[in-house]
Amino acid sequence: MMNAIETKNLSLSYGETLIINELDLKIPKGEITVFIGGNGCGKSTLLRSIARLLKPKSGGVLLEGKAISKLSTKEIAKKMAILPQSPTAPEGLTVLQLVKQGRYPHQSWLKQWSEEDEKKVNDALKATRLEELKERTVDSLSGGQRQRAWIAMTLAQDTDIILLDEPTTYLDMTHQIEILDLLFELNEKKKRTVVMVLHDLNLACRYAHNLVAIKDKKVFAQGKPEHVINCSLVKNVFGMDCEVTMDPLFGTPLCIPYGRGRCILNQAVAMNG
């Protein structure tokens, strides 16, 4: 089973409006897949239906080969975790209390704190470097720390697949990198399959093994960023003219949009002789 998730002929709609039309997609196991696309193209909708948060209009989603419509929500929760956009924690909830919730699918009303629960929660806190902060309330943390706490919760859930809907939106650059580095490490060290929606194309290119560009209610292109990203794709998917060059630190595609702004090229050339 090389594919963690597959969609077959998936159509999604909100009321009468069709968002995704008969989409076929294969998401490989053990890799980081990122959905990109313009605003409103349906990438979040697609992610949420894969997470069974949205029922398809037609077609289906396969999780490790099995249709999710036939699996119980608890079984799914043991294999796949989802972190929605902008989650809110109740006032006064501590980091530890939040992360503990991640163990829900593995617990019952009699067994609420097994040794395994304890170990997984501690591992999750360690991986997100939140051990020192575990007694702090979630709402007292900084944006980056708070997001780490939510990710720790999904880690405690101990699933092979983690879905994240825009995990870095609203975070400043340092925290964006912090979160993406953490996810990259989880994928590298623990072989978790990560699927996320990102807005920043360049960060997507840097961190994704597999890029899925959504346009016109279907998959427009899919593959390694360096194979897929070029000016033509960016023009098609985002409607933007750009130059695609190579990131000087990572070698991955770097997309530089045309537009207005201060052009100081001549000065820069002059200064650098």
């Binding site: 929605p84 809110t88 991640g102 304890e118």
Partner: protein, 351 residues
């Protein structure tokens, strides 16, 4: 000493994490509840020494005191305790389920529904001499049915591909207002005698409780309180939002329905035996949250004790402070509760 204690039995078949501080606070509150219970039993027209009260509770004690305590005082104080615990836990459940600190049995119209049922019962089953044509023992059932019907109605009206917290609150407020209007209408249309009787009941009082009431109320309350505490872990995930809760494997709609049923059972029985005692469902969970935090495993039991203490104290004040007049306990829960509610609104105005 660590903040938590792992509690594991039967090779891990039973396991819990106990928050030491919360456990400590709970124990203290348990003692306070007992003390209030004993003191409340001892205070009244005839003052009875607390030690005597304890003796009577364990079967002994002098005959005269024993009679007063068992015939008059105990039933009403036990009812007060049960009602306080029920309303507090129901309020806690509703607040967690609706994710809004202002949610309470009154807001959702459930107590309103019971009120309508009671006034309707009094109006319908009275003959021209203002005497009841059926036994008053049926009144609690009517109240409970009223609560249940309104809970179902609110849930049904709020349903649209599932029930969202905000729809529940909006529909609840609408229904609550409707219930109040209906109650007033029925009181106006009926004879004056009934209006005053209904009014007292609606304000909330444990006056007139007897052992038959206790025999019905105690098992019902205990069973549903236990079910509520077992359901605490589902409230914990519901509080994180529907999407996160579903992602964690929770059957959100089913659980929401179950929680609403548990709340209604607790509210219905309270309203049936003690009328519309308000604000306990709002205040007790808030106070509990400040003491033991947001995890419902600790929050619900703590709320229960605080609610019990509140109603017992309110009843105590009501029957002693204006002696020989009996002021319904509901007056005092409102007296403390309304300012607290305003304070809450004030505090959240910047949110």
């Amino acid at each position: 000493m660590s903040k938590y204690k792992n509690f594991r039995l039967f090779k891990g078949k039973l396991s819990f994490l106990i928050d030491r501080k919360a456990a400590f606070i709970f124990t203290i509150l348990l003692l306070v509840t007992f003390m209030v219970f004993v003191l409340s039993t001892g205070i009244g027209d005839m003052k009875i020494n607390p030690l005597t009260v304890v003796k009577v509770l364990f079967g002994g004690g002098p005959e005269m005191e024993k009679l007063i305590i068992t015939s008059f005082r105990l039933p009403r104080i036990i009812v007060a305790l049960m009602v306080g615990m029920s309303l507090a836990v129901a309020g806690g459940i509703l607040q967690g389920m609706i994710r809004n600190p202002l949610a309470s049995p009154d807001v959702l119209g459930i107590t309103g529904g019971a009120s309508v049922a009671v006034v309707g019962f009094l109006a319908f089953f009275s003959d021209s001499n203002n005497a009841l044509t059926v036994s008053i023992a049926w009144l609690p059932l009517a109240a409970f049915l009223g609560a249940g019907i309104v809970a179902f109605l609110v849930y049904f009206l709020a349903w649209k591909n599932g029930v969202s917290p905000i729809r529940l609150v909006l529909i609840g407020i609408g229904i609550s207002t409707l219930m109040q209007a209906l109650t007033t209408l029925m009181m106006i249309m009926g004879p004056i005698y009934q209006a005053s009787q209904a009014n007292i009941w609606i304000t909330g009082t444990v006056y007139g409780s007897n052992w038959k009431n206790v025999a019905t109320l105690v098992p019902w309350t205990v069973i549903f309180l236990i079910i509520a505490i077992v359901a605490a872990r589902t409230i914990n995930i519901q509080e994180l939002g529907d999407e996160v809760a579903t992602g964690l494997g929770g059957k959100v709609q089913k659980q929401r329905f179950l929680l609403l049923m548990i709340s209604t059972a607790l509210i219905g029985s309270s309203v049936a035996f003690a009328g519309g005692i308000g604000f306990v469902g709002l205040m007790a969970p808030h106070m509990a949250r400040r003491l033991v935090g947001s995890s419902f495993g600790a929050l619900l039991p703590t709320s229960a004790l605080l609610g019990g203490i509140l109603v017992m104290v309110a009843d105590l004040i009501g029957r002693t402070m204006f002696s020989p007049l009996e002021v319904p306990a509901g007056v005092f829960t409102a007296g403390i509760g309304a300012p607290y509610f305003i304070y809450l609104l004030f505090k959240t105005r910047n949110a």
